[in-house]
């Protein structure tokens, strides 16, 4: 059975590219673009992995992760963070709130695929 990825990102052409490479690898890819309703989208889709941008409209990826980790049913959900902000302090914040993997933009498709596989390997 195919695994499910929820991509939360607001840049349409990045969404299209990531959706294509993951779908070709056999993943079911759902997408969402609004930070304020991201938690509801996660609850509805129940993905095996969340790919999360930091700078989203209405709510940051850090805040979404923090809320997610506070919930017992979602505390272990793997999160891969994509961001244009790659400074040390951004990595520190991501680690502090509970992000599993931090990847800076621009990324290579191969790296995205490799990390998605690694984070969902059982």
């Amino acid at each position: 059975m195919s695994k499910r990825v929820l991509l939360i990102e607001d840049e349409p052409n990045i969404i299209e590219a990531i959706r294509f490479i993951l779908a070709r690898d056999g993943w079911i890819v759902d997408t969402h673009s609004d930070g304020a309703t991201a938690l509801e989208a996660i609850e509805t889709k129940m993905p095996d992995l969340v790919i999360l941008d930091v700078m989203l409209p209405n709510r940051s990826g850090y805040d979404i992760t923090r809320d997610l980790r506070a919930r017992e049913d979602l505390a272990d959900l793997p999160i891969m963070m994509l961001t244009a902000r790659g400074q040390e302090k951004d990595r520190d914040i991501a680690a502090a709130v509970g992000v599993n993997h931090f990847m800076t933009k621009p990324f290579s498709n191969a790296d995205v695929l490799e990390q998605v596989r690694a984070l969902t390997a059982t």
């Binding site: 840049e11 052409n13 990045i14 621009p106 498709n109």
Partner: protein, 436 residues
């Protein structure tokens, strides 16, 4: 080199070096030779219009006669010694150093100023890179677009059996993103060019405004007439105001000046000021206007008349100095906080309660002033917004006034260059007593 010569002695030195007879100079400035003789031997106080006239007749800056060129140099050297990176200069031998090696001392002062300017440039550039929202948004947009292009082009390059429909879609995406990237880049370059032109001297906007006001002697004849000039016109003609922010601040300052001038017309106010002995309380009663407005009018009286040179310091609710008109003989801090004992800050804590005190400002030479202070509250958004506090302090130099019979409060300019060891308000050590 006499480092603490008095004004009279300086006048005598300058007159002799210019080869002028005492009677000749006295005649030129409209006083008797015997009176000039008393001044030159420091037996009569001098200030106001007379010292300006003597300075003019001798062809020197009046500040040099009032304070001496050495005071400015010593102040700069003291600032240099207060730098955090300074080792342990012999503060107690600073006078001796400046006296024996004036060229080296000037070089130390010049280099300190240069370092300070460069440090400020670095701070402004760093602030711009870190906090400029337009720059941050543009860079984020560029990185996002580059990410989309990179990922999409890799798909087209690496995927052998891509469906024609997807191929067309990705090609269209790349074309869109390339256009977007070009536009963002052009917009960013234009923004940086404009910012570079506007703030090419990297001075803080408030410093530009201070330079502009000092250059005009804090008096604007064009705003005093019945058909005054527009503040924007005066600002547009200034070369001291280079950044948009500084021009905006200057327009605000002049707009307030214009309102004050309309309510307190100059000729009427000057007459009343002389009659009232420059007492701001009496003038506020006489004109039925707020005390801070009288402060501002007194501090912006035209120079070259018989008025004393009155200082004015204004701070906002955070204590930041937003107007710095220093009276002769007093240095106001340009960076960092001022002395917390200033009546200005006492007034800030007690709005609408005017105070009058005598302050003795410590330093090389103790200067005494009558300090009037008051703070007012403004609520520009009525009940809908915050209350804004502003405190003002008017400084009348002792030479021109009879001091009230009360003990002088000893204050400094800022902790680092204040020698008052036991001051309860001290927040950091002084380089004058504790070293580093």
């Amino acid at each position: 080199m006499p480092m603490r010569a008095l004004a009279g002695t300086r006048i005598r030195e300058r007159r002799l070096s210019a080869g002028r007879a005492q009677a000749d100079l006295a005649r030129q400035v409209g006083i008797s030779a015997s009176y000039l003789n008393l001044i030159e031997h420091n037996r009569r106080r001098i200030g106001g219009k007379l010292i300006l006239n003597i300075a003019d007749a001798l062809g020197v800056d009046s500040q040099i006669l009032i304070e001496g060129a050495e005071t400015a140099l010593l102040n700069t050297m003291r600032e240099a010694a207060a730098s955090p990176e300074a080792s342990e200069p012999e503060i107690d031998r600073m006078d001796e150093f400046a006296g024996r090696f004036p060229g080296w001392a000037t070089l130390v002062g010049d280099q300190h100023r240069r370092i300070r300017d460069l440090e400020r440039t670095v701070t402004i550039l760093t602030d711009r890179l870190t906090h400029d929202p337009h720059l941050a948004a543009s860079l984020h947009e560029m990185i996002s677009t580059v990410t989309a292009i990179r990922s999409t082009s890799a798909i087209l390059h690496d995927t052998q059996d891509i469906e024609p429909e997807w191929q067309r879609r990705f090609q269209r995406n790349i074309a869109e993103d390339s256009r977007r990237l070009a536009e963002t880049s052009q917009s960013l370059v234009a923004y940086l060019d404009e910012a570079g032109r506007a703030d090419s001297n990297f001075s803080a906007p408030q410093d530009e405004v201070d330079a502009f006001l000092e250059g005009a002697g804090y008096h604007f004849t064009a705003l005093e007439s019945v058909r005054p000039a527009a503040p924007e016109t005066i600002v547009a003609g200034s070369i001291a105001l280079t950044s948009q922010t500084a021009r905006g601040l200057a327009v605000d300052w002049l707009t307030r000046y214009l309102a004050d001038a309309k309510l307190l017309p100059l000729a009427q106010f000057e007459r009343a000021a002389i009659e009232a002995g420059y007492d701001p309380g009496l003038l506020a009663q006489r004109f039925s206007c707020p005390v801070p407005q009288v402060f501002r009018r007194l501090a912006t009286l035209p120079a070259g008349k018989e008025h004393p040179d009155i200082g004015l310091v204004v701070c906002d609710g955070s204590g930041t100095l937003v107007t710095r008109k220093a009276p002769p003989g007093l240095s106001l801090p340009k960076f960092g906080a001022a002395c917390p004992l200033w009546p200005l800050y006492q007034a800030l804590a007690r709005p609408n309660m005017p105070t009058r005190s005598v302050i003795a400002v410590t330093g090389d030479r103790v200067r005494t002033f009558i300090a009037y202070a008051v703070s007012v509250v403004d609520a520009p958004m009525a009940f809908q917004g915050p209350q804004l506090f502003e405190a003002s302090m008017l400084l009348l130099p002792e030479e021109h006034f009879d001091l009230p019979a009360q003990a002088a409060l000893r204050v400094g300019t800022s902790c680092r260059i204040c020698s008052e060891n036991d001051c309860p308000a001290r927040r950091e050590p002084s380089i004058l007593t504790d070293g580093f």
